[in-house]
Symmetry: C2
Subunit: 451 residues, 2 copies
């Protein structure tokens, strides 16, 4: 569904909800895909969201729609339901999805739901709940096709026929009597092999797997690098526990991109609609504090130049443009390096080369914009050559310094194992501001005293 | 392979290449996955890269490795090979991959390669080459399993058995006599159906497809929203032309995230390692120019305050901190909104709500940091209340203005159909700088004249 159609559906539903025309809503949404219904539902909140969820066709649809929502929305919706209905809906959901929701609910409610589940299922749930959300265990599903290596192709196909609700049935994993992963067979290979072949004879023994405690980012990187549709998850004795499918990997990749972007702007790791004003203030406050402290240092460092500034107040007019040009160029360099590190395009051995490249860019840009701003200040000051040279030279130096800082800071952060994404925000701008102004005032004082 | 192992492999290979120990290199790389070899190769350039590519086991490996590289690297490597070898390697590659490379080669060389290909293949290539790189046609593969609706399950399985090189064999697409897409069957459904069933009877007729001219971003959004493993591509008469697989979608998503991040920093759309210094300067220059013009406007607008600045040069010390805090807070707001628009989490109907939320955050932050900076300036000025109030109130107002601009600019850009990602860079910082300083000087002039 295009963004346009989806906006129309939203408008129509909103109108009908206000008019309480529930029959009409049911008809409108009856033919929609659960993924589209999830987007629709995600745009409402409070009473409207509750009502719309209630209007969904049946608990199976509710389960499918719920699975597509963000965790915060899932929790908000589930918290408003009766425990009985939660259990019915959960019966229709994939294990990994309901484990995520259970893990985020109030402990009391989660326990109540667990006690109402069947014994086997509640054990499985508790198994999943012990893995961190951002680990392979946290995003895996414990439902997979795992068959003994001594089984035949025919037995495998029968197994697939009888287990229609297994999530990803394109790979069959082969295990030994201890449950250890020993090979993989694609469904395609199975289809084209004769029924009495033993799995061991057609399986691919070199199967790539991840440990249950692996970071979800590493899992996503493996799946995307090797173009897998799923990757098996094992414990430290290589016992097969579950698998992570490519659609979960796509979610991880999107989540990480959003996190990186917000971190780079110092806006905290969480997206907006789900966070309260207080939560946002708490997330953003530290970044602003870094900037505040950095710039405050600048206030103190500028004190010795007070008299010079009073005598040559013309120089004040060019403070913002020198700071801004340095800040922008430095942020460009930092962003390119941060993104290069995140995508793996940039590796340690290449740092010097990149640094050298960025410095050449800085010199070129500094020459161009230094001349521009020098010319402007020359005319604006009534042809005062000393002012023009001070402004132009300072612009050049500020841009060179900005690129040095912008290129080195992310590399430094990555060396000391801090996510370099944090460096593009307040760190670089305040460092560039303070250094740029100190250079400006020093150069000006020097030039004005000798010219 | 972890980043660590891959760095070790790089170091070892580099040493061996320098020592020309080619036998050792062959042994080291013989057991590596093509995806890992591609990463290794991507870290070299010039003669070393050429040599390493030559050392790969055979043309099949070369084809697999080549397929994993970035387009720029593919072109650089292919351009150094003999036409004969290019054709042999291309014979081992998927259609969509070689079409991308052909499209990026010098026209002369591309034509020479096309004339050496078999008639059928060169026709297919020319067909693919006519679609833009960033359209569904540009990323699709023309190899798929498409079968007539009147065929049986047995015939379908035989077809799969005989066509082992088709890229994505997990879905079978069903077409009518005109080649029009009428349904889809998963390989799993095929496996569990009896051999004499007619495809029409088990196919899912509600198949989601994309038009060949669809934007690759829209294709990626569909595949990720519905968790497809592949999506069929049709022309305007619904004739099946090819399919886009989930691994290509992951590449598109990564590419788009990188593009967005670089755009947000005003660093141009291309990544670094592949771009020359001159190319980078050209990409970044316009963004710096926007900033330059904006800040230059500020220089002129500040002129009337020259005398006041000379009389109260103490105020100059606080210009950078007011500009920086406003700029940082405004960038946070803009980034959150830009990302919300890009991921679809934020829709038009919610703008007012988000704006209101951001303004409350701005007021809180403005009160906190306005008090901080007011206190600092009070003591630093020797208890001058008028200075302290000027600085504190201006900080508060600058932060509120910054959030207004930061929240409104991306929404405005999105309304006039410009990618809102461009708004977070120079536009916001220069607008906030200029407005913030004007407010600062106006407030100070007013307060100092009445106090």
């Amino acid at each position: 569904m295009s963004g346009n159609k989806s906006a129309l559906l939203f408008d129509a539903t909103q109108r009908l909800l206000r008019r309480k025309a529930y029959g009409n809503i049911r008809r409108i949404i009856a033919k929609s895909h659960p993924a589209d219904l999830a987007i629709l539902l995600g745009r409402f909140d409070g009473e409207h969201r509750r009502k719309l969820f209630e209007l969904l066709e049946n608990d199976e649809t509710r389960a499918l729609v719920l699975a597509e929502l963000d965790l915060e929305q899932q929790v908000a919706i589930v918290a408003e339901l009766q425990v009985d209905q939660i259990v019915t809906i959960f019966n229709e959901m994939d294990q990994d999805d309901k484990a995520d929701i259970l893990g985020a609910l109030r402990e009391e409610l989660a326990n109540e739901i667990l006690t109402r589940m069947s014994g086997e299922e509640s054990l499985e749930m508790e198994g999943l709940l012990k893995y961190p959300d951002d680990s392979a265990g946290g995003i895996m599903t414990p439902e997979f096709i795992g068959l003994l290596e001594t089984k035949t192709v025919e037995a495998a196909i029968n197994y697939i026929r009888e287990n229609r609700d297994v999530e990803m049935a394109f790979y069959v994993y082969v295990v030994n009597e201890l449950g250890q992963l020993v090979g993989v067979i694609s469904l395609r290979q199975l289809v084209v092999s004769s029924p009495d072949t033993v799995l061991r004879d057609i399986m691919e023994p070199a199967v790539v797997s991840v440990r249950v405690d692996a970071d979800q980012e590493d899992v996503a990187r493996l799946v995307s690098r090797y173009s897998f549709l799923a990757i098996p998850v094992t414990d430290d004795r290589n016992v097969l526990l579950g698998l992570v499918t490519v659609d979960d990997v796509i979610d991880v990749l999107k989540e990480e991109a959003t996190e990186d972007i917000l971190k780079m702007a110092g806006a905290g790791p969480e997206m907006m609609e789900t966070t309260s004003v207080r939560g946002s203030v708490r997330a953003r406050f530290p970044w602003l504090m870094i900037s505040f402290i950095g710039e405050l240092l600048g206030v103190f460092l500028m004190q010795p130049f007070g008299e010079a500034l009073q005598a040559h107040h013309f120089l004040v007019f060019f403070m913002p443009i020198i700071m801004a040009m340095g800040g922008n160029l430095g942020t460009q360099s930092a962003t390119i390096i941060v993104r290069g590190l995140a995508t793996g395009q940039l590796i340690q051995g290449h740092f010097l080369r990149i640094y050298w490249r960025e410095m050449r860019i800085a010199v070129l840009m500094g020459l161009i914009y230094g001349s521009f701003v020098g010319a402007v200040s020359f005319f604006l000051s009534g042809m005062e050559l000393s002012y023009a040279i001070s402004v132009g030279v300072s612009m050049f130096l500020a841009m060179a310094i900005a690129v040095s800082v912008g290129a080195m800071l992310p590399i430094f952060f990555s060396k000391v194992k801090i996510d370099p994404a944090v460096s593009t925000g307040p760190f670089i701008t305040s460092a560039v501001d303070v250094l740029g102004l100190l250079v400006y005032f020093s150069v000006s004082s020097l030039l004005l005293s000798i010219m």
